[in-house]
Assembly symmetry: C2
Homo-oligomer: 267 residues x 2
Amino acid sequence: MKETEIPPEHPRAESLRIREKLVEHYKAGIVAKAGLFAHGRGEAFDYLLGEKTTKNALKAIEAAAAALLTAKHPVISVNGNAAALAAKDIVKLAEVTRAKIEVNLFYRSAEREIAIKKLLEAAGAKQVLGVGKAASAKIFEIGSERRRVDPAGILVSEVVLVPLEDGDRTEALVKMGKKVVAIDLNPLSRTAQFATITIVDNIVRAMPALVETAEKLKQEDRRKLESILSDFSNKKNLGEAMNLISQRLSELADKGTFISIAQKGKE
Amino acid sequence: MKETEIPPEHPRAESLRIREKLVEHYKAGIVAKAGLFAHGRGEAFDYLLGEKTTKNALKAIEAAAAALLTAKHPVISVNGNAAALAAKDIVKLAEVTRAKIEVNLFYRSAEREIAIKKLLEAAGAKQVLGVGKAASAKIFEIGSERRRVDPAGILVSEVVLVPLEDGDRTEALVKMGKKVVAIDLNPLSRTAQFATITIVDNIVRAMPALVETAEKLKQEDRRKLESILSDFSNKKNLGEAMNLISQRLSELADKGTFISIAQKGKE
């Protein structure tokens, strides 16, 4: 069997198809090898969450939409994995929330930046910041080229959505006084912990939900949005996400063997 | 920054170095792209386990050593990730337990098989089964080239150690009446659930521990080994592993935000 073939009867066919999408974009120079590992990590947490958007994630999505809609200069920071898995929804969300789109990579390379820009433009983006010399401002951050940002984008933003980012980036932005919205399946990660609002969900489900929620909340007045924001506690919400996983594991542990050979595919 | 540079101050430097090892072996044709995702998954569970070998894992390691030592034809089934991360310990374990080493890949290719064989030989292996036409026997398994095994190895074995394997393989072997010892960080996985003995641990820690335990238990008489085996319940042990993760998450959930910006690096 070739590595690209997915047996349709495979119990994890959907998950494998998402992998395949990342591999295609890896070959196209959009996704870094680190992005393949990172995706695998996310898969594990998604597995533990039951591969669905929880009520807990929906609360964070509501707060995230309110944060983006009330910001003067919201920015969506895009890396290779985010572009590969959610380019269209990134463009839609930018339209609904008037956010700018900025390419921001851990492993910067002119080729990768341009490939991501093209992918976003093909998905309908009118402007893509942060590519090449446009990323002329520096922000302090440990050992990464990501200290470079666009002065027209992240530098002047108050709210930055960082789907699938790593901890260094989030920490640096929060230290600069910005609100960071993260999409991260791992509630224990440094990104999840440092962010202002953490959506513990798979980007392929969270982004369409975020677009839909932003469209709805756009009809509400500013006071309503501000009260959603002030009612949200990331600490409390992350604790809930961890408890959800913990409870699920504990239930499975009580059952002990929960997959038998006869039940294959029901996993 | 180049993708191969790891900032020494990075809080996850050790984990990144293991990734780098896999990337090197990916470039050398030993690790498949699927192996990079799989490793990421494992990382997530290792993170949840606290990145250490638990007492629970040690119990499984003891049972695994007993199973290999009491078998007439023990076999260690090796894929790309196992070879990349544990070639030397695979060879040591084969020596201590008189096990045969067989290359067995989900994504078979002559090049990858030969590259893995060479890596194992460089680590001291005298014989490597399953390469090319040597894998002439077929076992029933869904949609994978792994249905091919070596008639001098897995086909005639009663105990097969499958570090980092996937569910299909394990299920097929168990259906054939073989005892399967799996090393899998995910206690919920199909491999973990189907295996006879599941070591829920990182291969880089579990393999040296398995070698050491086998060396010790080799001094014991057969009755002692058989009683270790009969006292071991994989169902119970997997339940314990899930509970360990669940408890850890629950404790962290009570704390809520457990990484603050000031405490970075203590993660």
